[in-house]
């Protein structure tokens, strides 16, 4: 796949369709992959990678990149395409400056899980037929995919690309039976005290590094309320030991109905806080109150929490209808 992608990227650069490519390159470690912009064939040859460590959702980078001169090629995994659509719906990216190639994803590996298995000196990874082949300096090792896959990928909602100009591989399908709400249901079954204790336990570990917000494709505000001393919110969230909770509660409300459940927040959290559970609770509630709604599935869809509709009930209107 990596070779195919590199080839297409070079062709599109060469024929002038795009002048930049947004993809992934290896970081300090081969498994520590970061988003990168490539401007020449040479740069692509030197650093472009696509493997099962390429977890980062590239959509958010387009907020800045699509405003620059010329068109940019972006590679999007299925879940990233939902974020892309959501950003499009919110007018955050300029579609005409972007060329989207959909690339398949069968679940990204969690390097922490591999390390916990004692695998060392990792240099690469490929998945085939439910097995990861982990390349290491000591030779290849195989692992059952389910044992080393990232949590979010184990309950992946969709392998379908909801937007693209071109596809490499198949379009993929929505997984209607994914079990992504299992944990939410467990939380719902708890008593309020138990639930409070659960979230205090999780959220009090937060070090306010802001990684979750910075990676979140719904958090693209020109200036976040938490960075704006005038908003009156940042101080609020810093006033007591409850501050992390307020930060997360406010953020969850800001992304409610807009979060596509891409799982980036939990992926990047250095403290392993399961932030996606907050968002999933909202998603589940929205589905139950207003009918199934998947943010980003359709950029034209009306967001249930953010639309004024003629059929909307007025406050206090009773049930006699």
């Amino acid at each position: 796949m990596q070779a195919m992608m590199e080839k297409r990227a070079k062709e599109l650069l060469a024929d002038g369709t795009v002048n930049r490519v947004l993809g992934w390159s290896a970081g300090e470690f081969p498994y520590d992959i970061t988003p990168a912009v490539f401007e020449t064939a040479k740069e692509l040859e030197d650093a472009f990678v696509y493997n099962d460590f390429c977890a980062a959702n590239l959509s958010k980078y387009l907020v800045k990149e699509s405003r620059k001169e010329g068109k940019i090629l972006v590679f999007l995994k299925p879940c990233d395409t939902y974020s892309f659509n959501q950003l499009l719906a919110e007018h955050r990216i300029l579609r005409e400056n972007i060329y989207v190639i959909g690339v398949p994803c069968y679940g990204k590996a969690d390097v922490e899980k591999l390390k916990a298995m004692g695998i060392e000196g990792i240099t690469g990874i490929v998945m085939q037929n439910g097995t990861y082949t982990v390349e290491t300096v000591y030779g290849d090792q195989t692992v059952k995919a389910a044992d080393a896959m990232a949590e979010r990928c184990l309950s992946c909602k969709s392998k379908k690309h909801v937007v693209y100009d071109e596809l490499l591989g198949d379009e993929g399908e929505v997984d209607a039976d994914c079990n992504r709400f299992d944990m939410v249901e467990k939380l719902e079954a708890m008593t309020p005290d138990e639930r409070f204790a659960f979230w205090r336990g999780e959220l009090s570990r937060c070090i306010r590094c802001n990684a979750c917000r910075n990676v979140c494709p719904a958090c693209t505000c020109e200036q976040c309320v938490f960075d704006n001393p005038n908003s009156g919110v940042s101080q609020k969230a810093a006033v007591t030991s409850f501050e992390e909770n307020l930060f997360h509660i406010i953020r969850a409300f800001h992304v409610a109905g807009r979060c596509t459940d891409c799982g980036e927040c939990s992926r990047v959290c250095p403290q392993h806080i399961p932030l996606h559970l907050l968002n999933r609770k909202f998603i589940k509630d929205i589905n139950e109150f207003y009918g199934d709604y998947q943010a980003g599935a359709d950029p034209e869809a009306k967001p249930p929490l953010g639309t004024y509709d003629k059929a909307d009930r007025e406050a206090g209107e009773g049930g006699r209808h």
Partner: protein, 664 residues
């Protein structure tokens, strides 16, 4: 730092009876920024206002907090008083310690504590208040009346009388509404047509009034003084300017099997029709659902017989756009569908009729030319049973009925009973009722005449079942006073069905952003003090669309409504509410979240250039609010994630400061 004055009102004992007002004034006097604090018996009175004005002068106050009743009552009063002393009216805040405190609490200590807390919140807000200047907007001197029943007609006539233009938009082919279908009217028993049709003609002839019949409102934009409405003029397939209403087409049309809605389906009309002889405008209309020409392309008789060439089978709906300064809703009512009341056999026997059907059966222009005959066999009924409150006054769990009293049924049934006994003395008339409700001038006298002079049998009790048996209607009922079961073999059963707002009312309410109650009646701005205005500025209410009414009440309300409309149209300029939203372009993401929730369509977008890093420029999409359209509802400010959208006079910060003051 503001110099704030606090004024705690006793409201007689309304507040002082439950709140220790002296303690409240004392406690609030300690708050930072408060340089004067006092209490007084009636702050809204002339002397109360004088006291406030003197304090503003003496203590050089920059802000005022009044702890009193709801701002809906006296905010304007106190703002005016402050303005007279040169303090910007928007520097006045009200802490509602009556509705929010004294009226809902019993314990004095607790109530006093809460009053202090609410006062503190208001003080915290005043610290962040900024003077606001209200702008002005022009007024289009024309009114729109939606619905051409007696309510709409009366309102339009009164507005026109004052010299302003009025358009009536009526969805059916003629104005007149339900009153045109009635026979005689209580309490004076004059014939409905005789008193209504002259008014219809007046409306048609008045050069200030435009009647758009067979038309519907398509959309409304704008705000008080400046509405823009699109009106769909449905195709009649008859050129209104050519048709003289001679009616030859309606005689020659071979399609004779169309249920006649004007006669409640009791007889048939043609596919081309004029609803009734005195229709206004008196113009024929082709019912495309039944017209043979429209359906098969073969016929065209009406076109051949029409002497003026008015028939046009290819006519299309047209949409016209008109501007208005004020809008009147006069969409009236309909009886509920009696179908759901199976126990009364409405669907089983044609001799079970509703009261409105009975009006047509008694009307000289009706299907029986005014002779009361049973629909089934066209014989004269000798025993008639009236069932009151069918679908009215039902308890909340009853899915079929309405919780309210339809108000007019007791009186029109007394009317029906009396008219029948007068004309056909050999008829036995029974009325089954829960209570007889006859408040109104000469109403109870009217009802007593039915009982005492005309010998109508009023029975307090309920009808359980009506079954058709050998050409008779077997009525099973209970007499609650005699405590016995009754069995009556009747020839005709009349159901006084509840009335409900027209089905179009709800979508219209949404279009106009005029609020309505759970029963789809439009709500008034204040049930006692502003009964003909909707809470939405510029929208007024006339007739039964606001609640059940008889004709006298409808007409008085219609005139009252006209007076309010004239009050708007007579002004050259209106002051706008300065508490509108605005967006901070530097923070705006251009995400459209605000636009999607704005019920008034006040938000639009433009691409603007901003300075980027390293001397670059960046084009960004940003929101802006049209302050003339914005109603200050604040929906956008909560939808905006980045806090770019804020409401003047109710900024996020002010509200936070209030919450903080309460939680302190």
């Amino acid at each position: 730092m503001q110099r704030i004055g606090v004024f705690v009102c006793h409201c007689g004992t309304n507040i002082a009876g439950t709140v220790d007002v002296v303690a409240v004034a004392k406690a609030l006097g300690q708050e930072p920024g408060v340089v004067f604090s006092t209490e007084y018996q009636y702050m809204c009175s002339e002397s109360g206002q004088q006291l406030m004005r003197a304090a503003i002068r003496e203590h050089k106050l920059t802000g005022v907090v009044v702890c009193s009743c709801s701002p809906r009552m006296h905010e304007a009063t106190f703002r005016k008083a402050a303005a007279l002393e040169g303090v910007n009216p928007y520097m006045v805040e009200i802490a509602n310690i009556r509705e929010h405190v004294s009226w809902i609490h019993k314990d004095m200590a607790e109530a006093t504590e809460k009053a202090v807390i609410l006062g503190r919140a208001a003080i915290a807000k005043v610290h962040l208040n900024a003077p606001l200047q209200a702008g002005e907007s022009p007024v289009t001197k024309r009114a729109l009346v939606i619905g051409g029943g007696i309510a709409g007609i009366q309102t339009a006539l009164d507005i026109a009388e004052a010299g302003f233009e009025v358009d009536i938009v009526e969805k059916s082919p003629t104005i007149g509404g339900k009153m045109a279908q009635l026979d005689k009217t209580f309490p004076t028993l004059d014939c409905a047509a005789c008193i209504l049709t002259p008014k219809m003609v007046d409306a048609a002839q008045n050069e200030k009034i435009n009647i758009f019949a067979y038309s519907e409102l398509e959309s409304v934009k704008g705000y008080i003084g400046n509405f823009k409405a699109q009106i769909r003029r449905k195709a009649r397939f008859v050129d209104e300017t050519k048709c003289t209403g001679c009616g030859i087409c309606t005689e020659k049309c071979p399609q004779k099997k169309v249920p006649n809605e004007f006669n409640m389906g009791l007889d048939n009309r043609r596919a081309i029709y004029i609803p009734f002889a005195q229709a206004v405008p008196k113009v024929a209309t082709i019912d495309a659902n039944y017209c043979t020409m429209m359906k098969t392309g073969k016929c065209g008789i009406c076109s051949k017989v029409c002497g003026t060439g008015a028939i046009d089978y290819t006519q299309k709906d047209t949409v016209i756009e008109r501007e208005y300064g004020a809008i009147v809703v006069a969409t009236g009512f309909n009886p509920i569908d009696a179908k759901v009341y199976n126990e009364y056999g409405y669907m089983d026997s044609p001799d079970v009729v509703t009261s409105l059907e009975l009006e047509r059966l008694m009307n000289a222009a009706g299907p029986t030319n005014g002779t009361l005959l049973r629909p089934s066999d066209k014989t004269h009924p000798h025993t008639i049973v009236f069932v009151q409150c069918v679908g009215s006054r039902c308890d909340e769990t009853d899915e079929r009925g309405k919780p309210y009293c339809s108000k007019i049924c007791c009186m029109y049934t007394a009317k029906h009973a009396m008219l029948i006994r007068e004309k056909y003395p050999d008829t036995d008339v029974y009325v089954f009722y829960i209570d007889v409700r006859t408040p109104g001038k000469n109403f109870d006298e009217f009802y007593r005449r039915a009982v005492e002079q005309y010998g109508v049998h009023y029975i307090k009790g309920q009808v359980g079942k009506v079954v058709e048996q050998n050409g008779k209607l077997h009525v099973q009922a209970s007499d609650l006073l005699a405590n016995e079961q009754l069995h009556i073999d009747a020839d005709l059963v009349v159901l006084a069905t509840a009335i409900e707002p027209d089905k179009t009312a709800r979508s219209l309410g949404t279009m106009l952003t005029a609020s309505m109650d759970t029963n789809d009646f439009f709500t008034e701005a204040h049930p006692k003090l502003r009964p003909v205005e909707s809470p939405t500025a510029g929208i007024f209410l006339s007739g039964v669309c606001q609640g059940p009414k008889d004709i006298p009440e409808t007409v008085s309300q219609a005139s009252a409504c006209a007076a309010k409309v004239i009050g708007v149209l007579a002004k050259d300029k209106l002051t706008c509410n300065p508490c509108v939203a605005h967006s901070d372009e530097l923070l705006c993401n251009g995400c459209s979240s605000c636009e999607k929730v704005c019920p008034y369509g006040a938000i639009s977008y433009s691409d603007k250039e901003f300075r980027g890093p390293n001397r670059t420029t960046l084009i960004r999409r940003v929101a802006s609010v049209n302050p003339a359209v914005c109603q200050g509802c604040g929906a956008c400010t909560v939808a905006c994630p980045s806090g770019a959208m804020d409401l003047k006079g109710f900024s996020n910060k002010q509200i936070m400061a209030e919450v903080d003051a309460i939680c302190k």
